[in-house]
């Protein structure tokens, strides 16, 4: 045991660069990931704000827009390709650089080693590389904004799904399909590499570096979530990486993986003109299969850490053990496993075999079962609880509510027949924004308010946190629930304007309502940013264990020392959520409390290395 840890022991760095920039300390790297996400989400959110302005007040002249983007918004009115490039970049930045970085690379990096009683990740240098590779990916996607190849866009215009052949044909297919598209692919390919490095590290660390007594079934549910997420990333990102390389080759090397023969684009026949070389034999649907084989597990990569954090925080503030710990673990596994067999539900009407649609559809509905099991157990955890309503708890409760609201419409969209009217309408963005976007982010808000005192030694301001919660919670419902109804009427997504169609005009009041809700909700996030940075320096000092929580991160100082436990790694004697144990002196027993006077549940034999 101790030998294992000797290998990873390294002295704390002293220079600024080794300490804060090219750090190999998982805690610093975790914070770097979180900062990256905090920066990326600003870009992504501003883009959504611009989109809302364009949709609800079409034709309005926004002089600021003209100043910033003279070609994209001539006269202050956005042109369609500018809008579509916002759609693309918003999705790409949010999915990759926010929802994949903060939950896993950020909080996972910081807390997985501490929660299992390790001094660092298994491969600290690899960990540093995974962050910096991801960072380079972010720089490249920002470059796509400025070097999109046509000055009227801020990137490619094909959506974050980049469907071929629109994404494969190059500049001939219209504005935004030039250099910006290449940079988009390169950025995502770089991101894939960074995520793979991270995933390897998470899996190895969790399997090999748990402290004495930390059996698998004594791990906090956060660790199970991060572990499963890492496995999903390890298996899905290579497929996207491969697909991306093929797409780049189609664009630059004249290959035809995704481009069929006989295309006639913008007045030019394939092969008849040097601007449009001969292509033959490719399959556009192949790209969709590769993309969604990654893309569906990606949804769970985004939300599983939020589920883990929610379970963890619910138990802590309910002062009660997690209800059905074992069922929760199996549900995480079931979601992860089934997540690999349902990608075809994005493709019911893509032209793939209608028989495979039936298989994908039934499998998709069955993934609702473990999701429901998790919800039941969360509510079960609250049953008979003694709830303390602090900000982290409010956001965790918000997560449960939003996860139900967003996830449940999967029962509609997962049915192939109902996709005939629903596919590519607003009910789709409504569904996935609520569940993988907003619910995941609520999980991360909960995690931030919860772990902030551990990370920075100070508590975040509670009053600001609660205002942030109430407005955001009501705000996101107001934004995304009406979008479902737009979908029922048939409003197609990715339209830069709804003025062309009579049947969409009746929806205009809803569109305006959603935009106003979005503007308010986005504005209130400033409060969160202020709270984070103000509390870092001015927040109330937190002790080692301000929430009276049970897991190992609360056994060390706030913030923890470089090697996490100052050389004395605690052993673990019990399960992760031993609250309200009858006969115990306090209402919580920490995992590292050796007190033999109480025998509590979930007490398996200690894990041996």
């Amino acid at each position: 045991m101790s030998e294992t840890h000797e290998v990873h022991r390294h002295p704390a760095p002293t220079g600024f660069i080794r300490k804060y920039i090219f750090s190999v300390d998982h805690k610093v790297i975790g914070i770097q990931y979180i900062m990256l996400a905090l920066a990326a989400v600003v870009v992504g959110m501003l883009m959504s704000l611009l989109m809302r302005l364009n949709l609800s007040w079409p034709g309005t002249k926004w002089s600021i827009l003209e100043t910033l983007f003279p070609a994209g918004a001539p006269g202050g009115v956005m042109n369609p390709e500018f809008y579509l490039s916002l759609v693309t970049m918003h999705g790409t930045i949010m999915v990759f650089f926010v929802l994949t970085t903060a939950p896993q690379g950020g909080f996972g990096n910081y807390f997985l080693p501490i929660q299992i009683g390790a001094e660092d990740m298994a491969f600290p240098v690899l960990n540093m590389l995974s962050f910096w590779v991801t960072f380079v990916g972010f720089i490249v996607i920002l470059a796509a904004i400025f070097l999109s190849g046509s000055d009227s866009t801020v990137g490619p215009i094909g959506g974050w799904t980049g469907y071929a052949p629109l994404s494969a044909l190059g500049a001939i297919a219209g504005p935004g399909q030039g250099m910006g598209m290449n940079l988009w692919i390169i950025s995502i390919a770089i991101f894939c590499v960074g995520s793979l490095l991270g995933a390897l590290n998470f899996i190895t660390t969790l399997l090999n570096m748990r402290t004495r007594g930390m059996s698998l079934m004594r791990m906090p549910l956060t660790c199970w979530a991060w572990f499963t997420t890492a496995v999903l990333a390890l298996l899905s990102f290579p497929v996207l990486l491969g697909g991306g390389i093929l797409l780049l080759l189609d664009r630059t090397a004249g290959t035809s993986f995704f481009i069929p023969g006989g295309l006639y684009v913008s007045g030019v026949l394939s092969g008849s003109n040097p601007n449009f070389p001969l292509h033959t034999g490719g399959s556009p649907i192949l790209w969709q299969h590769l993309f969604w084989f990654f893309g569906h597990p990606e949804v769970y990569i985004a939300i599983l850490p939020g589920m883990g954090a929610t379970s963890h925080i619910l138990a802590t503030f309910a002062r009660k053990p997690v209800f059905g710990y074992r069922a929760m673990v199996f549900a995480i596994f079931a979601i992860g496993l089934l997540g690999f067999f349902v990608w075809g539900h994005h493709m019911f009407i893509s032209g793939m075999s209608p028989y495979s649609a039936i298989a994908f559809s039934v499998l998709t509905l069955s993934i609702g079962v473990p999701s429901a099991v998790k919800t039941f157990n969360w509510i079960g955890t609250l049953w008979g609880a003694r709830i303390r309503f602090s900000t982290p708890m409010l956001f965790a409760l918000g997560f449960v509510s939003l996860f139900v609201a967003g996830g449940i419409t999967g029962l509609i969209l997962g049915q192939s027949s109902l996709d005939l009217p629903m596919h590519d309408t607003y009910i789709v963005p409504a569904h996935f924004h609520l569940v993988m976007g907003v619910a995941s982010i609520f999980g991360m808000f909960a995690a931030t308010y919860f772990w902030f005192p551990k990370m920075f030694g100070r508590l975040m301001n509670e009053r600001l946190g609660q205002i942030h919660f109430w407005i955001t919670f009501v705000g996101v419902y107001s934004i995304f629930v009406p979008m479902h109804v737009m979908g029922l009427v048939g409003m197609p997504r990715r339209f830069s304007s709804f003025t062309e169609y009579e049947f969409l005009k009746e929806l205009h009041p809803l569109v305006v309502f959603v935009s106003i809700a979005a503007i308010i909700t986005i504005t209130i996030q400033l409060l969160f940013y202020f709270n984070v940075f103000w509390s870092m320096f001015k927040g109330k000092k937190a002790g080692d264990n301000p929430w009276e929580a049970t897991t190992l991160e609360w056994n060390t100082t706030s913030p923890p020392p470089h090697d996490n436990f100052a050389g004395v790694i605690p052993s673990v004697y019990r399960g992760p959520y031993e609250f309200a144990v009858p006969g115990a002196p306090k209402d919580f027993l920490m995992q590292a409390d050796s007190g033999a006077e109480v025998t509590s549940g979930n007490g398996h034999n200690g894990h041996k290395h």
Binding site: G262, I349, V369, F473, V481
Partner: protein
């Protein structure tokens, strides 16, 4: 705090349910033979979704309403790690409901997608291109003239590359709007010249991608005459939002008479009909 949260959760739940089941914003009135079965499946699904959604939110609200911390040190939460019985019960029940719903949902799909169009269907070739729809009708011979991508010439208005040398192309016609008969199965042969598009007529409850390099055959039966908006539902580039056309559903004899006209007159007459026919109300 707990009571406030409970009330807000319940209010949001109530408002969500109300906006979902309002009369104003709902599926448009259906005009196809498969729509009633599809709508029944949708209503069944949405009722189950509504019940599950409401039950979960009411339950969540109830827990936060009821189980607040009293602040007294001797007042502790219930010490339990769960109940295997409950886990089994709720897993089995949700599995039966969810998977059962999924299996039932395949009926409409199977009836539309696992069979070829019935014999005697009215056949139209649909060739999409960036921001424009082309509909190709065979003439009296019921044979589509040969098309070839290398003969496409947008500037000469040969949008789909019809081979004029092919005798069966002589009586063909190409229009920018779709006209089909009422109460007769229609088969569409969907192709695309450039990127992926998607055929979408909301009251038809029908959507299908048009994929370059593939010919995708689909079928449906429209059962209500009228003029309907036809949209592209798959992002196809800059002017995607303007890739609009109309679907005109006519009584069969009127359509037969219309199709009997020579190409130019057919196009002109169709245009005139479209101009004079008001849009079917969308709700």
């Amino acid at each position: 705090m707990g009571r406030v949260l409970a009330v807000i959760i319940w209010l949001l739940t109530l408002l969500s349910v109300v906006i979902f089941f309002n009369k104003k914003w709902w599926l448009p009135p259906a005009i196809s033979d498969h729509a009633p079965a599809l709508d029944r499946q949708f209503v069944l699904t949405i009722i189950i979704v509504g019940i599950a959604f409401t039950a979960a939110q009411v339950g969540l609200g109830w827990m936060v309403w009821k189980y607040r911390d009293s602040g007294r040190a001797d007042d502790r939460a219930l010490y339990t790690h769960g109940s295997n019985r409950l886990e089994v019960i709720w897993t089995v029940i949700t599995a039966i409901v969810f998977i059962g719903l999924g299996v039932m949902g395949q009926r409409v799909w199977a009836s539309l997608r696992l069979h070829d169009a019935p014999p005697g269907s009215y056949s139209v070739e649909v060739v999409a291109q960036q921001f424009q729809w082309n509909f190709h009708y065979s003439g009296k011979d019921n044979v589509f003239g040969r098309t070839d991508p290398s003969l496409i010439d947008d500037s000469a208005l040969n949008f789909i590359g019809i081979d004029e040398a092919d005798p069966s192309a002589k009586d063909d016609a190409v229009t920018s709007s779709l006209v089909i008969p009422v109460n007769r199965p229609v088969e569409l042969k969907l192709r695309s010249k450039d990127v992926i598009h998607s055929f979408w007529v909301p009251p038809l409850r029908f959507k299908q991608d048009l994929v370059p390099g593939m010919e995708i055959k689909v079928h449906f039966t429209a059962n209500k005459v009228g003029k309907y908006e036809l949209a592209c539902a798959e992002l196809c580039g800059q002017l995607h939002f303007k890739m609009k056309s109309y679907m005109l559903v006519l009584p069969e004899d009127q359509l037969t008479a219309l199709r009997a006209l020579p190409q130019e007159q057919f196009q002109a007459k169709l245009q005139e009909l479209l101009t004079n026919t008001p849009l079917a109300p969308s709700y």
